[in-house]
């Protein structure tokens, strides 16, 4: 898998609010089965299982067989990648705001020259 399609899969996985709620619950409550997660969310067990499959393909969660069911846990290192991607978006806004500041201040200085 190339880095690019890897990133796309990650973005698609975290871009969906339901999946982010799943991640939140797994982060705060620790590893859980699809059945347990469905009890905490307004989703059917089947919908939870589909979301978990997307998250697992993106590498955000990892499933381990536990008796008759699979328990899912967050892979924090992948979540860091997602957080860093978000931080990169924020950093772009920082540089745009710096540019806005420089532009406005130079226009203002030019207008006030004697």
């Amino acid at each position: 898998m190339t880095d690019r399609s890897d990133d796309e899969e990650l973005w698609a996985a975290i871009a969906e609010p339901g999946r982010r709620r799943l991640l939140d619950i797994l982060l705060s409550g620790g590893p859980a089965t699809a059945t347990a997660l469905a009890a905490d969310l307004p989703f059917t067990r089947q919908a939870v299982a589909k979301h978990l499959a997307v998250l697992e393909r993106a590498g955000l969660v990892e499933g381990h067989r536990h008796g008759r069911e699979v328990r899912y846990a967050v892979r924090p290192e992948r979540l860091d990648v997602a957080a860093r991607a978000m931080a990169a978006v924020a950093a772009r806004w920082d540089s745009r705001l710096q540019a806005i500041k420089r532009l406005a201040e130079s226009i203002h200085r030019a207008a006030n020259q004697p």
Partner: protein, 154 residues
């Protein structure tokens, strides 16, 4: 994690900052290469990125819809919705600029939100989701290439 909030103090009055934010000739200095904006609520617009940053594909137009245009206090728009679709709460990002006077200076606040609201019904096929993510990724990549270059040269 999913709302971007920033503030910056600018040593210029609000009407100057407003001009930088909304005048296409100024927008080309800090954001897209070209811009067209109908500056009123509901007004349509386009940011055009490239071709310099994207020589393979030519210019990339990105649509926006003005949500608020209240000079010199508030400018807001929605963008990043799929091309050809109407911008809605659940398929776009909301960018809000608020300008507050501090003496003769301006405190500029930016909030970009919508990362949480962007929603797809469970019936949406996965390839649709992937297509959307792809488009978004493309324009974010374009923006990344663009922003540092511009701010360094201004």
């Amino acid at each position: 994690m999913t709302v971007i909030e920033r503030e910056i103090l600018i040593e210029a009055p609000r009407h100057v900052v407003w001009q930088v934010l909304t005048d296409p000739a100024q927008i080309s200095q800090w954001f897209s290469d070209d811009a067209r904006i109908d500056l009123r609520p509901g007004g349509a617009g386009t940011f055009v990125f490239g071709p310099r940053v994207n020589q393979l594909d030519g210019p990339i137009p990105v649509d926006l819809v003005v949500q608020a245009a209240e000079p010199p206090e508030r400018f807001a728009f929605r963008w990043a919705h799929p091309a050809g679709s109407e911008a809605r709460v659940d398929n776009s990002l909301l960018v809000e600029f608020t300008l507050t006077a501090e003496g003769e200076h301006t405190r500029l606040r930016l909030v970009e939100s919508g990362y949480d609201q962007v929603d797809w019904s469970p019936q949406v096929r996965e390839d649709t989701i992937n297509d959307h993510a792809k488009g978004w990724d493309t324009h974010l990549t374009t923006l990344t290439a663009y922003a540092p270059q511009r701010s360094a040269s201004s």
